[in-house]
Symmetry: C2
Subunit: 306 residues, 2 copies
C-alpha cells in the first residue's frame, strides 16, 4: 500500500516521521500537486485539489474528531472516511468543561475580581442541585464530559440524536425530547457534530428555554451558535454567561464583540487539541486494521454527517 500524507495548517515533518515509524511497510509522503495515486490519506483541512487528483483513495483518515469541514469537499466516492475516536481529546474536553462549570458554579471569577480589589469576601455557597448541566451530543467526547460532571455530583442530563444510556446521566434523545432537555438544564454544554440539522441549533428559541441564569459552553463548532442570539440573551439577563472555544470564523475577527464582552470567556479553539503522538498511533492502527479488512472505529456516515 501507499499512504500519502496531506495536511495543511500543521507542521508536516513530525507527522511524516511518526507515521513512517508506525507503519514501516507503507510508503508515506507529503502530498504535492501531481503526486502518484495513493491508497490512504491522512488529512487536516486539505484543498479540494487533493481529492480531485486522488479519486482512487480507499480510506481518508481525519486528524480530528469533527469532520464537518471535510464533508464540505467533494470526496472520492468510494473512500471510507474515518475520524479520530479519542486520541487523548476526551480527557482534555472533560478538563475544559469541568473547569468552566466549576469556575461558574463556584463563582471563582467573582472571587478573583474581589481579590484584585483587595477585598476578602464571603458569598453564600450555591446549591449544586440548582445547577443541572445538560450535555448535547453523547459520542466519545460528550459521554466522557457527562461522566466527569457526574463525578462532581452535578445533576447531569444528556441529549443525543439516537437514544443512549450513560450511568448517572438522565438521557434525552431526538427532537421530541429536545425542549424537555433544555428546560431541565441550566448549564448547557455543546458537543454535537456540525451537520445541516445542528447548524444554528444554539439560537434565541432554544437558549431561551434554559433555566434562568443559564450558562452556555460551546466546545463543538462556532456554526452551532447564533452569535447575536447569545448576545441578546446575555443582555436581557436570561443567560448569566458563556464560555466559548469555537467560533464561526477562526481566529475570531478583532472587531467581534465576544472578545471583550464581560459575561463571555473565550479561548482560541484549545479545549481539546490533537495530540500528535497519540493520534499517529491511533491512525496507524486504523490504517493497519483497514488494510487487514478488520473493523475500524470512527467510520463517518456521510449521510448523517458524523
Amino acid at each position: 500500500m501507499k499512504s500519502t500524507f496531506c495536511c495543511s495548517g500543521t507542521e508536516p515533518a513530525p507527522w511524516l516521521a511518526g507515521l513512517r515509524a508506525a507503519l514501516p511497510q507503507a510508503q508515506i509522503e507529503l502530498w504535492q500537486a501531481g503526486a502518484l495515486p495513493a491508497d490512504y490519506a491522512v488529512v487536516w483541512a486539505p484543498p479540494q485539489q487533493f481529492f480531485d487528483e486522488q479519486p482512487q483513495l480507499r480510506g481518508v483518515f481525519a486528524i480530528g474528531a469533527g469532520v464537518d469541514a471535510l464533508l464540505k469537499l467533494r470526496l472520492p466516492p468510494h473512500a471510507t472516511l474515518v475520524r479520530l475516536d479519542d486520541a487523548g481529546m476526551a480527557v482534555q474536553m472533560a478538563e475544559y468543561v469541568c473547569h468552566a462549570v466549576i469556575r461558574h458554579f463556584r463563582e471563582l471569577d467573582v472571587y478573583a475580581a474581589d481579590i484584585r480589589q483587595g477585598h476578602w469576601t464571603f458569598r453564600k455557597p450555591r446549591n449544586r442541585a440548582d445547577f443541572p448541566v445538560g450535555v448535547m451530543g453523547l459520542g466519545v467526547l460528550g459521554a466522557r464530559v457527562a461522566q466527569a460532571l457526574a463525578h462532581f455530583e452535578f445533576p447531569v442530563l444528556g441529549w443525543s440524536r439516537s437514544a443512549k444510556a450513560i450511568d448517572g446521566v438522565r438521557c434525552f434523545s431526538g427532537s421530541a425530547q429536545f425542549h424537555d432537555f433544555l428546560a431541565a438544564s441550566r448549564v448547557l454544554v455543546n458537543l454535537l457534530p456540525l451537520t445541516p440539522d445542528t447548524r444554528d441549533i444554539l439560537n434565541r428559541a432554544t437558549l431561551s428555554r434554559l433555566q434562568p441564569g443559564g450558562y452556555v459552553i460551546n466546545v463543538a463548532r462556532g456554526a452551532h451558535l447564533v452569535d447575536d442570539d447569545l448576545l441578546a440573551l446575555l443582555d436581557s439577563g436570561h443567560l448569566a454567561g458563556a464560555m466559548l472555544d469555537v467560533f464561526r470564523t477562526e481566529p475570531l475577527p478583532p472587531e467581534h464583540p465576544f472578545w471583550r464582552h464581560p459575561k463571555i470567556t473565550i479561548t482560541p479553539h484549545t479545549s481539546a487539541r490533537t495530540l500528535r503522538e497519540t493520534s499517529i498511533g491511533q491512525i496507524a492502527g486504523k490504517i493497519a486494521a483497514f488494510e487487514r479488512g478488520e473493523p475500524v472505529a470512527g467510520l463517518v456516515d456521510r449521510e448523517q454527517g458524523y
Copy 2:
C-alpha cells in the same frame, strides 16, 4: 439530654432552627455566660469561657473538618470531640483542587492574558505525564481529591502518616517516604490536618524537593506553609506558582505580599465551605448515635491532633 449550641463567627439562628427540627427530643439553646450545664455542644470557634463553664460536656461536635483551633483550647477532659467527616466538603474540595490543577496544567491563565490583549495564540499542549500531582493527607477530603485527579488521568501520588491504599493513587506514608513522595511530585496539594508535626511542613527544604516548575495548592491551613519560603522559591523560579485558600492570619492582612504576587492566586478560605443543611443533618445523626451508644464517625484523637 440537653444540647447547648454555641457558635461564634456564624449566624446562629438557622443552625438553632435546623438542629431543633432534626433533634426534636433535645433542648437546644444558644450558649450564654452562666447557662445551665449541657450534655453536648455544637461549636465553631467558641471562647475558652464556654468550655470552662461546661466541664461536664460529654460530646463536642465541631462544625468543620479541621479541629486544630479547638484543640488549642482547654477542653472538658471527658468530652468526646467529633468533627464533620464530609458534609458536602469533599466534593467541593475536589472541585477546587481540580479547577486549580486544570487551570495551571492547561495554561488557562496564560490564554486569558493573551485574550485580554486581543491575541489569538496557540501553545504546544503539555504532556499530562509531566504533571504528577502529589496529595498530602489522605483522609476523607484527600482521598476524594486524589480520586478526582485520577479521573482526569493525571499521575496521582498520595502521602499520609499511616499507610493507605487508594485505587489509581501511588501511596507513600510516614516520614521515611516523604522525600520520595515530594521528589516524584510536580504539583503539590496540601490537605493535612494541622498538628505540631505538620506545622510549617511546606517550607524551603520540602518545597525544594518538588520537581522543577512545581505548583503548590494549599487548602488545609495557613500555618502549614512558611510564607517567605514559598516566596523565595517562586522568585528563584523553582516553583511556577501557587494557589492558596488558607493563610496564617485570616482575613489575609492587606499588606501581605500574597495579595498581588503575579504567580500566586488566592481565594478567601472558600475551597470547601460548611453547608448548613448537610452539616446539621450529619451532626444530628452523630449526636443521636452517640446518645444511643453507637459508633460515631469523625472521632478526634486529641493526641494525634485530628
